[in-house]
Point group: C2
Chain length 676, copies 2
Amino acid sequence: MKLFTSTLMCLLPLAAANSLLGFELNLMPMPAKVTPGQGRLIIDPNFRVAVSGQADGRLLATALRLIERISAQTGIPLSHELASDPAQATLIFECNGPGKPVQQFGEDESYQLSVSDKQARITAPNPLGDIRGAATFAQLVDSDQQGFGVPVVEIEDQPRFPWRGLMLDVSRHWIPIDVVKRNLNAMAAVKMNVLHWHLSDDQGFRIESKKFPKLQELGSDGNFYTQDQVREVIEYARERGIRVVPEFDMPGHTSSWLVGYPELASGPGPYEIGRHWGVYDEAMDPAKESTYKLLDAFIGEMAKLFPDEYFHIGGDEVNGKAWNANPNIQKFMQENGLKDNHALQAYFNRRVQAIVQKHGKHMEGWDEILDPDLPKNIVIQSWRGQKSLSDAARLGYSGLLSHGYYLDLMQPASQHYLVDPMDQEAATLTPDEARRIMGGEACMWTEYASPATIDSRTWPRAAAIAERLWSPRDVRDVASMYRRLAVISRNLDWTGVRHRANYQPMLERLSDGDPTTAVKTLADVVEPVRGYKRGSIYESVQSTPLTRLIDAARPESDLAREFSSDVDAVIAHQGKTDEVRRWLTIWRDNNGRLEPAIEQSFLLRDTAPVSRELSQVAAAGLEALDAVEAGRRLPADWLQQQTALLEEAAKPKAGVMLMVVAPVQKLVNAAAGTAQ
Amino acid sequence: MKLFTSTLMCLLPLAAANSLLGFELNLMPMPAKVTPGQGRLIIDPNFRVAVSGQADGRLLATALRLIERISAQTGIPLSHELASDPAQATLIFECNGPGKPVQQFGEDESYQLSVSDKQARITAPNPLGDIRGAATFAQLVDSDQQGFGVPVVEIEDQPRFPWRGLMLDVSRHWIPIDVVKRNLNAMAAVKMNVLHWHLSDDQGFRIESKKFPKLQELGSDGNFYTQDQVREVIEYARERGIRVVPEFDMPGHTSSWLVGYPELASGPGPYEIGRHWGVYDEAMDPAKESTYKLLDAFIGEMAKLFPDEYFHIGGDEVNGKAWNANPNIQKFMQENGLKDNHALQAYFNRRVQAIVQKHGKHMEGWDEILDPDLPKNIVIQSWRGQKSLSDAARLGYSGLLSHGYYLDLMQPASQHYLVDPMDQEAATLTPDEARRIMGGEACMWTEYASPATIDSRTWPRAAAIAERLWSPRDVRDVASMYRRLAVISRNLDWTGVRHRANYQPMLERLSDGDPTTAVKTLADVVEPVRGYKRGSIYESVQSTPLTRLIDAARPESDLAREFSSDVDAVIAHQGKTDEVRRWLTIWRDNNGRLEPAIEQSFLLRDTAPVSRELSQVAAAGLEALDAVEAGRRLPADWLQQQTALLEEAAKPKAGVMLMVVAPVQKLVNAAAGTAQ
């Protein structure tokens, strides 16, 4: 693992240089070292790629993928034939050595990218580094007044943390293989390197077992990946420099297993696939030898299918109720001196760890599996925070941070961005202990995400987490992050991920197609409520369609953020008045346009107060703006009236928050406080 | 073939019934017979499908595809398990007999769809009919104030013509396999049943030959389909009820063949892949026996790969120059009494026809192949019109109409819609002769279409042609077509075709992401110039990026059409004033917003006059609107001035036409003619 200290020294002068030159490249994650130059490498129909050095299938695939990516972005039809003579190539991939047959944790991902106005060259010690360099090159492509090109630059880069993952829950909502693939494309674009595939949970068992076919036959509603598809995804990920770590959550979160194999259960059954959310009481029976026999055979089958050396067994949220209710389990605990359910789970984990290790894997699990009796080669994934992470590190365990990276909580990118695995308790670790923190994983649980919405719930915010885990520790300027994120988000379109593309169809569904501009005007300035509150607003079971305004709305309203900054400028008399007036006018008039659609649409109906309040808030904002512009002070009773209106409008309704209320409140305050 | 006469009688009372009930279902193509009922079949999470009768893989695939389609459209997570008990199903597919192992021309496509408020049933004599019924059912899904559902209805349906094709040119621009597939999805949605795959032309040889590998190795820039991919496409098409007919254009349009196999050529060579558009002089040498030997082996290979009984040999646009310049060919003509190049090509066609027939296929070709010496089992595809089609029919040849269906000419849907294969000269055919007209094909040549734009050049307009070829002859109300087309176009999104989805990324590329609303405002009201004029406006070779406003703009501006109808209402004092004013105001202000982006963008720069003129036209429109509203008459010199402005603005610039000029002219005229 390469720690940030080695690159910190290089970065500081660079940051200064960047700012002196008045530009910052649209890269995310920001590389360890960037030295900008003068001029541009033109990208035109003659763009050709050559590959030299170590022959590797991944490298060829990466070169072809880059050609397609650039062709899509620029619209230039490019030849798919590689240049046989590197001197004729626009971009040369140089690969100085072989990669591991199975991509390994900690495998070197460094590369150098050198761009002159004649040619670009990516040099790396292995194919993995070239793959990372290709992602950087793709992000550098932009247009100026002459055409497409790449700025002249020297980049030396390697990651700060060797484990930069995305956990995808495909159990709560089934996520088809093409959706997984397009998200792998996006991950590769921001240099994430682990797909943590949460394949089983109470609500669905999502993978074919040939040894235990009732797992998928009775536990999946027919929605599962065949083993051939799994191999396809693993290969697809490998070509993009991404490891695939499967998770089979146990002994809790296992209702879907128990439908077909009730003999695994602690209770009497019968069992059904879980249809609601939350923690279930069911759990596997840790007291029966037959449980371990089945798990040995199952884990053996899966260990062969997944080549990665890590294997995730979940282990979270066992409430113990099924164990308490089972006399045999209670007897077993007494006989074995297991004083409580935590001890029983620890026993279970030790048995499972032995099985996982027997099949050649390191066991990984959530915080709850931490137990000093387990060997040190396991990995703790912390959903609880840096404290449990550093506790584990002090005990000698490796760990990953996920606390703070739960994308499904609908928090702003800035909030995730500023969470650092080495902060808080982790800041007090010794260097040896600190080295046990392998990185982190963004988590995308899917109680409230479907194939149509998972992309927009994941992207672009996951890119901010990717930067946290790749870039030097002191790359943490939020304004810079948002500026770059806007560009990266647009460019992610070219990878096929649909975080932006699915917006319009979802808006059209809301209003049955008409008038979508008015729906969009509203949706553009709302955000879903934070956390898991959707379940208390709408019916919330597995079959609930995720098709409301709360689902269409992006987790973060860029427009509201920009508007807020424009309002600040207005109050500081630094311009932007026209822009603020334009938006306020559009919003004021929007409810009149949207109301007929709201009345017609069963999906929009409950957003009526949100739409009405947007128009009221905007009208208040316009009055305030007039006063601010004219230098008139508005009276206290006006202020009081508007503030009451704004306070009401600030309350979430239909599961969404009106994000322009706060900036309008600033404007209203300014109008009431101005006296000239 | 089922002619329209049998269904005409049913349709007329239905049309009356529809209009009495005040609604018309959003179906395209309109079925032969529709009997609306009362009430709705609800689509909710309990939606289940059952399949009964004849077992068939296509039927199962269709059922699963329909579930996915409905799940995508409604956002309802649906079970992918079929109901084993039909009584439990929402929709039952009933299939009363087997289909042909290879889908055949003229195979029965009829079906009945019966929807009650409890259950729906699709009944068909074979799987093909069920596939068509599924497409109808998918189109019926809509939402009302309560939720998603399907109206109660009885439909009896079958096509008017048995051949309803789409020709895709994948040579001029390489069209990757995923683009072909998504267009097959869209074809199936509107019941088109033939993919005519134009696989070779001067500019690229797009399919792997194992016998003659230099065809793809030297003739494709690496952009070709492997035989496995071709089989995949054929199977994909078959599951959707679509036949795949390959075209290998010969003896002209063959430059890409000659790069690897110059011995086929009439000239001395050497040859290169064609990089520009237009008719090339090169042609195969019809005087050499070796030509037929190679073609026999090649056609034999392809005849095995493509199971369809038709095989298209092109045969168009041979200018004869290479033949004139070759003394051996001249000698051969003299010796064989071939008096001119037409006779020589006829000789070539007879030889090729014998080869095609030997390999078990009917030969198909463009108008030029028509020659009374050819056997009657060939098919003439007419790009010239109903006259050559009916000439062929009188001679006993079967034919397809493509004249009038060239989507790449960028004509409005209404224009294609009103072209009928049985009109003009074809109207005078005897019933026996008329029966030889098998249908028609929309054509999508790709000189000016790329993978990113081909969808929007094809859809939704191809759906209007699909209706012409499927629905009863008297279904030809343009207003009804446009109303339904708007819904169908939106719904085609759910099939994965990107005619709408690619609009936004193309606009963002134009302006480098900012401000896309202003770019969209302009793009929404322009149309590309008709015909092939792009080539005279921009550099026009194979590597030219198709990324300008002309490429982003839709072939038809729905907004301009709606605006025009709103202006008519204003002039007739039937309301719509607010709507017209709103648009005129947006357009008037747009240039101010767009100008900075135009200055920055190398792709937008030449649209500056279009943007400026839109604002000027809108300003004129606002003055006129004020006068019309106030009942004031504006003076003659004002009219003259505005008319001069509008005439200038009506001239295409940057390859686009400003489609709101005409309606504004009407408003201006009304303002000058009003006196109260």
